[in-house]
């Protein structure tokens, strides 16, 4: 490969590396946020907010780099699909992490003892389902696997059912109104996170193309 | 007849009818022309070889010219060979460098100025001047003052060769692509450097073969020598003074003699002359090939 194109490849690899890292950040922070919410840990919420501050500087930098590579390198084929896909999922990542931070932030507003056991159980299940969906989506990006989107499309229904149950539980009046309102928001946060995961998996269809290469194991 | 491109209607076979006939007629005419041209050439060659071959041997080529009455196997054409070589060589030394330099001026330096136009025009005119006129010209300006000599003959031959060398060198120089000159200039070469180190080496094959063709032509000229060297029968190694002889002159004298012996020697001389011209052509080809080694 000509030296200059090697240089370009290194840039692409660096972008991919950062994207994977950002995925992983959310993948670990999400269960952390759920746990923070359920245990009432303010500390965790603080930590996550701090993390949000750090990575939010990355988005414009990555965007700028992607724009520059598209402008100056005239990419085609997988290079072009990669750069365009990164450009499209960066907003998804940004919003997702912001949602994670907000979930944890709710720990500030409620006491974990205020939650009904059924509510707690549902939150836990939603949390773990979304975490799982997120991991599957980001894994599909890493492996350039375009079959995951369909599967996640089904799991989102499952998430929807859990959410419906949660709403029912909240409406039943087993918790105080302020707490119920907070949990309504939290329920919305989780469903939105699920949507982001599905969107990412959908982007992989374009990214992978018809003959996706196998990433090194 | 329009060409149709509908599927199933495409006919890729040889065109029929009058186009085919026309094609074949033209081909036949060309072949016929070729044959017509080759026949007389072959005839001449055949005749000269047949009539002259018997006379050729080393003593013939080096022996002195006997009186015309002598029989065929006596004597030889030595002085004529020497004369031809001397005079033609001198003419070449005078005409070729001058012609090459002239062509270099025309192509590289002169451009469109009046001098180039003049040189070009005069050169073209000289190409058409009958060779006997050249001889008379040298007779009147040189021989009348300095007497007959090989030098005078060489001058006359040189005048014949000069326009040929100028024209062929000029064409060869024009064929050198301008991109080579630009490449050389771009490296910081002066005009003379460009000409000497790039243009001339690139054209040298063609220049040499053009010069050799001019030499071959000059070697066979008779008329300009008539008034300049005054054919004698002895060897004259001093080419600068005293009359001389050459193969064409000898052929002329012997062919007009009634004696069989002289005529036989004349045929031998003719064959020798053709052989010399042939050798020069071959050498020209070899030189071109050698210099074209880098120009593949």
């Amino acid at each position: 490969m000509p030296e200059r194109r090697q240089e370009f490849q290194r840039q692409l690899d660096a972008i991919e590396g950062r994207v994977i890292e950002l995925f992983a950040v959310i993948g670990t922070d999400l269960p952390g946020a759920t746990k923070a919410l359920l245990t009432g840990s303010n500390e965790m919420a603080g930590l996550l907010a701090e993390r949000e501050r750090v990575i939010s500087a990355l988005y414009p930098e990555l965007e700028g780099l992607v724009n520059k590579e598209i402008l100056l390198e005239s990419p085609v084929a997988s290079d072009l699909r990669f750069l365009l896909s990164v450009s499209r999922i960066l907003p998804e990542i940004e919003l997702s992490h912001s949602l994670v931070v907000q979930i944890a932030a709710r720990a500030d507003h409620i006491l974990s003892e205020d939650l009904s056991p059924r509510c707690r159980g549902l939150i836990e299940r939603m949390g773990s389902l979304v975490t799982d969906m997120w991991r599957q989506a980001t894994d599909s990006w890493y492996r350039r696997d375009n079959s995951v989107a369909a599967m996640l499309g089904e799991r989102i229904e499952e998430l929807g059912e859990l959410h419906a149950s949660l709403v029912g539980e909240l409406a039943s009046g087993s918790m105080s109104l302020p707490v119920a309102m907070e949990m309504t928001l939290v329920g919305r946060f989780y469903t939105r996170l699920g949507d982001h995961a599905v969107n990412i998996a959908r982007r992989v269809i374009y990214l992978a193309g018809a003959h996706p290469p196998q990433p090194p194991d | 007849m329009a060409v149709t491109t509908e599927p199933g209607n495409i006919d890729l076979r040889e065109p029929k009818g009058w186009r085919r006939t026309k094609n074949r007629t033209a081909t036949a005419l060309m072949v016929l022309s070729l044959v017509l041209v080759i026949i007389p050439l072959g005839f001449v060659l055949f005749t000269v070889i047949a009539k002259g071959a018997s006379a050729i041997n080393w003593s013939f080529l080096t022996g002195s010219i006997p009186p015309n009455v002598a029989p065929a196997d006596e004597g030889g054409i030595g002085p004529a060979v020497v004369g031809t070589i001397e005079i033609t060589a001198l003419a070449t030394v005078m005409a070729v460098p001058l012609g090459v330099l002239g062509a270099v001026y025309l192509n590289e330096y002169g451009g469109r100025n009046w001098l180039s136009a003049l040189i070009g025009f005069m050169s073209d005119v000289m190409t058409g001047v009958p060779s006997i006129i050249m001889g008379l010209f040298i007779f009147s300006i040189w021989v009348l003052h300095f007497g007959y000599s090989g030098l005078a003959g060489a001058l006359a031959l040189g005048c014949l060769m000069l326009p040929i060398v100028i024209r062929s060198t000029y064409e060869m120089l024009r064929l050198v692509p301008n991109s080579l000159r630009e490449g050389s200039y771009a490296l910081g070469a002066t005009k003379s450097r460009v000409t000497m180190t790039v243009v001339l080496p690139a054209a040298i094959g063609g220049i040499v073969s053009g010069a050799l063709l001019a030499v071959a032509r000059a070697a066979g000229e008779t008329a300009p020598l008539l008034f300049t060297i005054l054919t004698v029968t002895t060897v004259n190694r001093n080419v600068f003074s005293g009359p001389n002889t050459s193969l064409p002159s000898l052929i002329f004298v012997n062919a007009s003699s009634p004696y069989v012996g002289a005529q036989a020697r004349g045929w031998g001389a003719a064959l020798t002359l053709i052989a010399i011209a042939f050798i020069l052509m071959v050498v020209a080809r070899l030189i071109t090939a050698r210099f074209a080694r880098y120009a593949q």
Binding site: P2, E3, R4, E7, R10, Q11, A14, I15, R18, I20, E21, F23, A24, V25, G27, T28, L47, E50, R51, V54, I55, A57, L58, E61, L62, L65, N67, K68, L71, L72, E73, S74, R135, T138, D139, Y142, D217 | G111, R112, P177, S179, L180, E182, G183, S184, Y185, A186, L187, G188, A189, T190, R193, T197, V198, P201, A202, R293, Y294, A295, Q296
Partner: protein, 291 residues
């Protein structure tokens, strides 16, 4: 198979050393001015080929000249090393300064100019000599006779042009026997052999296939640290790939006299020219909407 999350330890310190992959492409400090053209107009006899061009070329940068046919970009390029002198009737108005010295002053020798400012042409033009003699040509006409020194120069130049490995065993073979890409690299080696300060390139890759083009572009990138390069190109992707600055020329039509003159429309950093050009004509050209 380990998932990436299990591989990557995403703790706070790690993300704090976040990306600066941009480092190499970050704007380097502005180099010294190599060429300073001031209101340059170029005439061929009575025909005004280029009008009122002013720009500065900076050291250790690759500057691209782009524009439609007839816009004068090659004319301007050739003005930088006085190659236009070879065309009868060509004259230059305005001034071109090379490192502070006027290029067109009466006392300036074009020969000396061309030894410092080399040129590579659109169609590779190796001399009908051996590869060795092609590269040694420049040094030889500069007076270098020492065989050992010439050997050294030839090897260094061929290495510099990334051609050494391919031809080191056949240096005495004809330069005309090389493929297009190799021949162009030979011409570049020949230019580098006289150790110029600037290398001008007139559409060097337009006769070459993509792989040979890539090799030349790599070469340009590599020698950029030692030479200043100005390249005329028709290929806009090439301009974005290799150049730091781009000058866009266009054609000014004079309706009355029905003449066309070249003019410099916009000159700036390559990213700005192709991302967000200021002039409408530039925008029309780079987006393919001109003509």
């Amino acid at each position: 198979m380990e998932t990436p999350e299990q591989n990557i330890v995403t703790n706070l310190p790690r993300l704090e050393t976040a990306i600066h992959v941009d480092a190499e492409r970050a704007e380097a400090p502005l180099g010294a001015t190599v060429f300073d053209a001031q209101s340059v107009s170029i005439w061929y006899s009575a025909f005004k080929a280029v009008t009122n061009v002013s720009l500065t070329i900076h050291e250790r940068e690759i500057t691209a000249f782009i524009g439609p046919s007839g816009c004068g970009k090659t004319t301007v390029l050739r003005t930088l090393n006085r190659m236009n002198d070879l065309i009868p009737g060509a004259r230059v108005e305005g001034d071109v300064h090379y490192r502070g010295e006027s290029l067109y002053a009466a006392s300036v020798s074009p020969i000396a100019v061309r030894r410092r400012i080399g040129m590579v042409f659109q169609k590779p033009n190796p001399f009908p000599k051996s590869i060795y003699d092609n590269v040694a040509y420049g040094p030889r006409i500069n007076g270098e006779r020492n065989k050992a020194k010439l050997d050294e120069i030839v090897e260094k130049s061929l290495r510099g042009a990334a051609l050494w490995d391919e031809v080191k065993d056949r240096l005495n073979k004809s330069g005309l026997g090389l493929s297009g890409g190799q021949a162009q690299r030979l011409c570049i080696a020949r230019t580098l052999a006289v150790e110029p300060d600037v290398v001008l390139m007139d559409e060097p890759c337009s006769a070459l296939d993509p792989i040979a083009t890539g090799a030349i572009e790599d070469l340009m990138h590599e020698i950029k640290s030692r030479y200043t390069i100005v390249i005329v190109t028709h290929n806009m992707q090439q301009a974005t790939r290799v150049s730091d600055r781009t000058a866009f020329y266009s054609v000014l039509r004079d309706e009355k006299s029905d003449t066309r003159t070249g003019v410099l429309v916009e000159y700036g950093r390559t990213e700005q020219i192709f991302n967000d050009p200021r002039d409408e004509r530039t925008k029309a050209y780079v987006t393919g909407r001109m003509g």
